[in-house]
Symmetry: D2
Subunit: 308 residues, 4 copies
């Protein structure tokens, strides 16, 4: 049995994030080792010219301070497809319309927050006024939106229309397809419902995006998947991988969900081999870590390793 | 400070599930106390004639052996609205078409499972043939499906068409609205994509269901929510509660997700007060428990308490 | 590949706990299936006349309402050895001296609780007066305690001296060895320190118990282990299993800790095979569940299955 | 309501770990914000000349590659008291005797590992030969050990005797008290049992350390606590804080355990206010993170901030 010893991490003064991640990779086990490996696999799939990189984003990444990193990722052209939640797009649109999220407390008085107009997301607060801003925005631009057949087309159009830089605008400008299958389950969805309630119509179909994401997977030479959080974003990409000729050949999953309840969010990537979602020879790693810790570290390491 | 002591649970021979749940309620703390309280709150909202009960179901409940209980719940008329995942409906339809799920191992050889045609869901296995059965079913019945404007209409129609008893058939027969916002993120969605790829069309809109679920919440005298698992099902009901005149007045959440990562799935119900999703005076409880343990226990207790 | 299908649980009115657990066993997967299997393995090891059963107890079982069940377990003679925490013995002694624990809130005002003299254990409260009662008790009985060479002898003596029924008294009366390696890390330890601070001496050695527990494991024909919670109780039994001729042949672990951080508390039982703590052919199961839910259910099922 | 906005993290090329931690602190919420705050509080308590810093270490920190960091922490004189598990000291002593830990797999064949002589700690492997090396070491040095009255004295003596640098040797050389209440629950404990089994005697008392740690807490102007992992190390320090005149005034907890099961390991620091373990005005933070990720990051940040 040939084995690598665990090298103990040695901290030097003023070491860069990437130097630390390299040390973690040499330790090679537990959270540290997996974080090191996650950075390596992300680097490999991004540098692999044949590989289409699918990024799944769930959880409060925008209220958690990750918005710049996501926009930088899109603008760097490292990512080919994004799938995310309606909540993320709602938070993002809110900030693009000039609102902010705020630092709060997990044990806040929620009734008081309600009276003062703040919606709590664990320990961050979103001003409820975001809804008013979005309602105006959707209402004013509804004519531009209503012709859109697929949710992806709708999202690019919203991106085009947003006044300031945003995840959606970056996707539109860089022509990165962004999917959000459960868009109706979000503030944006609510605003569109508000228009429907006034008798307006929208033509966006529930199934039309499938064709597009599956064709990208189907025609890719290789596929790589990166998941921060689970939910629909992960599952929707996994489903596309089932139809990719060689399934995913690279995989990185970062979540705090656990596999034992059996749901897709916490399922280990390895499970995907049985489904034909992950190639049995893929490079992959599951990292149990808060996304707001892992994402900045991995991105900082990558930024030092990869030339644009 | 007036406080109730923790009564130690006393086990009697051959006690019924409900007798045990009553003892847990008297203990009053930790998992036991919360399970006792969950049963009480479910009982209250079901017995409250003015209350519309919204049930959110996520996670592998059908592969986990919960299908009969869910069907019984629907047929008992205790539930007014169901929101679930495409995966649950896919598993359910598979069983309605004559397939079964199997007992497996979490540390299985996934490559071998893939060769043998079984898709792993933690420690249960789904035969991959379910996809073929569903493809035939959707293909043969596509003409009946394609006129459906909303996902809920589509699901009732699938329920009507299924040959054996199923969650969807029970919803259709008992006229219980069932919603699945992310239907495209599922085996059923894939089968419909298969038809689109052949040039067929489907008219189902991405936003049309919103109107229906919001109107139910909007017009209800009272609302109660029961969540097994999080994801889109929970969030979609929570969103409807935001528009209910008095928000939810009863709430039970059962999940293994934790609040600290900040996502909706693990968020404590209390957080909903800030959003106007939960009434500040609501009866509610968060139970951290595997759904396949908590659901049978709570349902068994309710069945002893509530006369049909 | 021969596989058992997942049988869907069918709830009958007024079914007993054991009937439900049998149904969970037939479902056979996830939490339900593991709970069913846990009951089966406990039943097997208790009925196996050749098997010494080691019970490890950690976490707030007494504040959580489990005290009667633990005492019943001891008095039933199903258990041969107990290892627990100093906290459990402190809570138990407190109740034996006439104090109670109380139902509280997880989001309590801790500063107010402190002023009012209540120590919070998540959502249960312990009156701080327990310390005074224990101090008097230890002080008055110190002459009886100080001759004791091993912690086990000390604990039996405390059990003998307690005025009302208790875990320790039941162990003393039924001659069940009870170990608590980290006794100094507890209220009882503090009270003994109080006597040392007054210049008294105690002869109890830090290593003397090891000989006794290892001899039990060493000479047993078979060993079975049951863990509710991890910590020192689990690890101390696991260590004894390493020296049992055939390691543990039965194993049940119930915990909410997860394996990924790598600590002993959350480690899967299977890991023990590498150490020689678990026999490779052992019957064993890991159940992720709150102890206050799983313990009453398993004990109620066993009480219906096993004749005293 | 005056609130700080969430500043989105901006990654610059080749930024140092401390620069990233500062950015996380500006984001201010979720894992990132808490990691930033943890570094700040550690910095404050270490720089506070009046503050005695108590460090609790549990979990597989040595197999996880953290040994150098712990030794550096001790040699930096930032820490005044350490409490840890017997397992950590066993792993440390093993490495001091020339053994290594190895990178392995969580889904290893444990029966094969057993045959080949490797003990698995999640995904790291410890060669079982460590036990032989320790047995020789303890056997050869037993005369030096047996006079030791307290576990702390015993541990310093082991540190003095170890041939290479180690956690214990660093504690001995820097006169940092190190406590291990459950020493008998470890490989070191087993080796001492081996000597007892041969008829030798050891005078180490079970309660003698309490006096020493409590006096340090009792006489300190201020106390700060840092916990990586829970278990006895955390609880033993918390117990000492209960007797510190002003309780702990700084607190940092890093763990993957959750509060809901109610055990001490996962209990939020805030709970300690009710017990008088934490000062109501203390600066404190609970961080849910793998220790092998958080410890190197925090230490790297501190090394950039604090001059030796």
């Amino acid at each position: 049995m040939k084995m690598k010893p665990v090298d103990h991490i040695k901290i030097k003064k003023s070491m860069t994030v990437n130097e630390l991640v390299r040390q973690m990779d040499s330790a090679g086990v537990l959270g540290a080792g997996r974080l090191g490996k996650a950075a390596n696999i992300c680097e490999s799939m991004i540098k692999d010219k044949d590989c289409k990189v699918f990024l799944g984003l769930a959880g409060p990444l925008v209220p958690g301070g990750m918005r710049n990193i996501i926009i930088d990722l899109i603008e760097s052209s490292w990512i080919d497809v994004i799938v995310t939640t309606g909540a993320t797009l709602t938070h993002d649109l809110g900030e693009a319309l000039g609102y902010r999220h705020y630092q709060g407390k997990a044990d806040a008085d929620d009734a008081e927050l309600h009276r003062k107009g703040f919606d709590r997301v664990y320990e961050s607060y979103m001003p409820n006024k975001i809804y008013e801003g979005m309602e105006d925005f959707i209402s004013e631009n509804f004519d531009d939106l209503k012709g859109k057949k697929s949710i992806r087309e709708l999202l690019w159009e919203i991106g085009r229309l947003t006044p300031h830089q945003s995840i959606l605008k970056a996707c539109f400008e860089n022509k990165i397809p962004i999917f959000c299958p459960a868009i109706s389950d979000s503030g944006i969805g609510l605003m569109i419902w508000g228009q429907l309630a006034k008798g307006k119509q929208v033509e966006t179909g529930a199934f039309d995006d499938l064709k597009e994401i599956i064709e990208i997977a189907w025609t890719a030479k290789k596929c790589g998947v990166i998941y921060f959080g689970g939910g629909v974003p992960k599952n929707y990409i996994q489903q596309a991988m089932q139809l990719a000729p060689k399934s995913a050949q690279y995989g990185v999953q970062v979540t705090m969900d656990r596999p034992e309840p059996g749901g897709s969010s916490g399922a280990e990537l390895k499970e995907g081999i049985s489904w034909g979602k992950l190639n049995p020879k893929a490079s992959f790693v599951d990292l149990i870590c808060d996304a707001t810790i892992a994402l900045p570290i991995i991105y900082a390491a990558l930024k030092e390793r990869i030339k644009f």
